[in-house]
């Protein structure tokens, strides 16, 4: 434990090795990692966190590299977390995003960390959130979280950012279609990368139409028809802000300055409308829920093990002596009982 104590002190003192080690403990869920993260919490809240997602090959890593370099030119320090999928079969992974970090080599003030999606449901978003806290407490001004936008997992990850940028490569329009499934809603900014390629203009146009459609759609609920133009001035409805569309060529760095100023605008908007605090509250609520879910699942798992595992129950279900619902009730009954008993005692 004392080793972990000094680890946090070293991290706060700016030692890279300690930061790297803390993130490893978070990833591994090493014994005591919870205490580490608890201790980090009071030192967080300074960094601006940007989440970047998009389809494979959209140019995320290259863009992140250029963004980091540009922040550095402005004298700001940067932390990057790049998430790659791992094989569900072996758990192995090749984490390739680091190769693209060519503009920041040898610059320790860009702290780049690759993480793999190590299975467990909800686990990755917890690890990522915790790793971001470590970078934040370390004192990074800017933190970028980069992940392939493929499903709910990724959506959960980028949701913990202050600002979410969704990358769209120019193409047939299929990419834009694909975005509808859940990713459109989370974008604070759209980036059409590889804007020098044919079809970029069309992609921008399609995106623009889609954003308008979203706002006009009766399905969008509070985005009623007649939603005004985007901007800070109609801030009475925080969701009315339309995500701007920025064109970049990550390879050459074109458009990166504009992207950063759009991100800065968004940060200002978050601050001015109180949305930053509202989002932070939502995030903390999500975080607590996720932890509660994982911890109660673990508690049930523990009880299951104490009862000799699932196989015996499965036998009973196969033999039609019992059924899955009854089994679940039976296993959970003592847990539920204990919880309720305590609550009643408190209320007395």
């Amino acid at each position: 434990m004392s080793g972990d104590e000094s680890l946090i002190d070293e991290l706060l003192a700016g030692e890279h090795r300690a930061l790297a080690r803390v993130i490893t403990k978070i990833e591994n869920r090493s014994p005591g990692y919870r205490d580490l993260v608890s201790r980090l919490h009071e030192h967080t809240g300074r960094a601006q966190v940007v989440g970047i997602t998009g389809s494979p090959g959209a140019g995320k890593s290259t863009l992140v590299d250029k963004m980091a370099a540009t922040y550095r030119e402005r004298g700001e320090t940067v932390g990057v977390i790049a998430i790659d999928p791992s094989s569900p079969y072996t758990g192995g992974a090749v984490l390739g995003d680091r190769i693209r970090m060519a503009s920041n080599v040898g610059d320790m003030d860009v702290f780049f960390r690759s993480m793999s999606a190590r299975g467990s449901l909800g686990g990755l978003s917890t690890s990522t959130t915790d790793a971001v806290k470590a970078l934040d407490a370390f004192g990074k001004d800017r933190i970028i979280v980069e992940t392939v936008g493929a499903g709910q997992n990724e959506v959960d990850i980028v949701r913990m950012a202050d600002t979410v940028a969704v990358l769209v490569p120019p193409g047939s329009g299929d990419d834009v279609q694909m975005l509808k499934a859940g990713i459109l809603e989370i974008a604070d900014v759209f980036v059409v990368n590889k804007a020098d390629l044919d079809g970029a203009d069309r992609t921008v146009k399609e995106l623009r139409e889609m954003v308008h459609m979203r706002d006009a759609s009766p399905m969008a609920g509070h985005h009623g028809a007649g939603a005004g133009p985007s901007g800070i001035d109609d801030g009475d409805d925080e969701d009315e802000r339309q995500p701007p569309i920025v064109e970049t060529v990550a390879k050459t760095g074109e458009g990166v300055d504009e992207l950063l100023s759009v991100l800065a605008d968004h940060a200002e908007w978050l601050e001015a409308t109180g949305e930053r605090d509202a989002r932070a509250r939502r995030r903390y609520a999500d975080e607590i829920r996720t932890l509660l879910r994982a911890d109660s699942a673990a508690l049930v798992e523990e009880e299951l093990e104490a009862r000799g595992g699932l196989e015996g129950y499965v036998d009973g279900v196969v033999a039609k002596e019992t059924d899955p619902y009854s089994v679940a009730d039976e296993i959970l009954a003592p847990v539920a009982e204990a919880v309720r008993e305590r609550r009643d005692r408190r209320q007395d």
């Binding site: 080599v105 960390r113 994982a294």
Partner: protein, 139 residues
């Protein structure tokens, strides 16, 4: 509780350092490591020792595999090892060298802290087994 239980994976950096552009071997190793269930970070070609050190420290790898086919191991490897030491990362990083290292140079590398040297003809199983057995565990 499962959230305290730990989900450890062996993390490896497969590094190509210096001017040699032959990365077939590094690719094969990276893939074999991945299939063995390791998390592999590949450095890309033509990296400087400083870049390798930066990656090894930030990624907090258990294993650093340096592939050198140029014969420059006697200058590049010491630079990497010095860098790791500077960041306090030398002690718990398993350092492997792959490539062509003449017999007479080997002792010097071992003395610097290289755990093993895998030359041509080394089997993949042998390498993976070595990593499994020697990767630092106590984290």
């Amino acid at each position: 509780m499962s959230t305290e239980q730990g989900q450890r994976a062996i993390r490896c950096l497969v590094a190509k350092v210096g001017l040699d552009g032959h990365d077939r071997g590094a690719h094969v190793i990276a893939r074999a490591f991945r299939d063995a269930g390791f998390e592999v970070i590949y450095s890309g070609l033509h990296k400087s020792p400083e870049e390798i050190v930066q990656a090894a420290v930030q990624e907090d790898v258990d294993v650093l595999g340096i592939s050198i086919l140029s014969g420059a191991h006697d200058t590049l490897v010491p630079k990497i090892i010095d860098g790791l030491e500077e960041y306090g990362a030398l002690e718990d990083t398993l350092i492997l060298v792959g490539g062509i290292v003449p017999e007479e140079d080997r002792d010097e590398l071992y003395e610097l802290g290289v755990a093993e040297i895998f030359g041509p003809g080394s089997s993949m199983e042998e390498t993976i087994e070595f990593v499994r057995e020697n990767a630092p565990r106590d984290r």
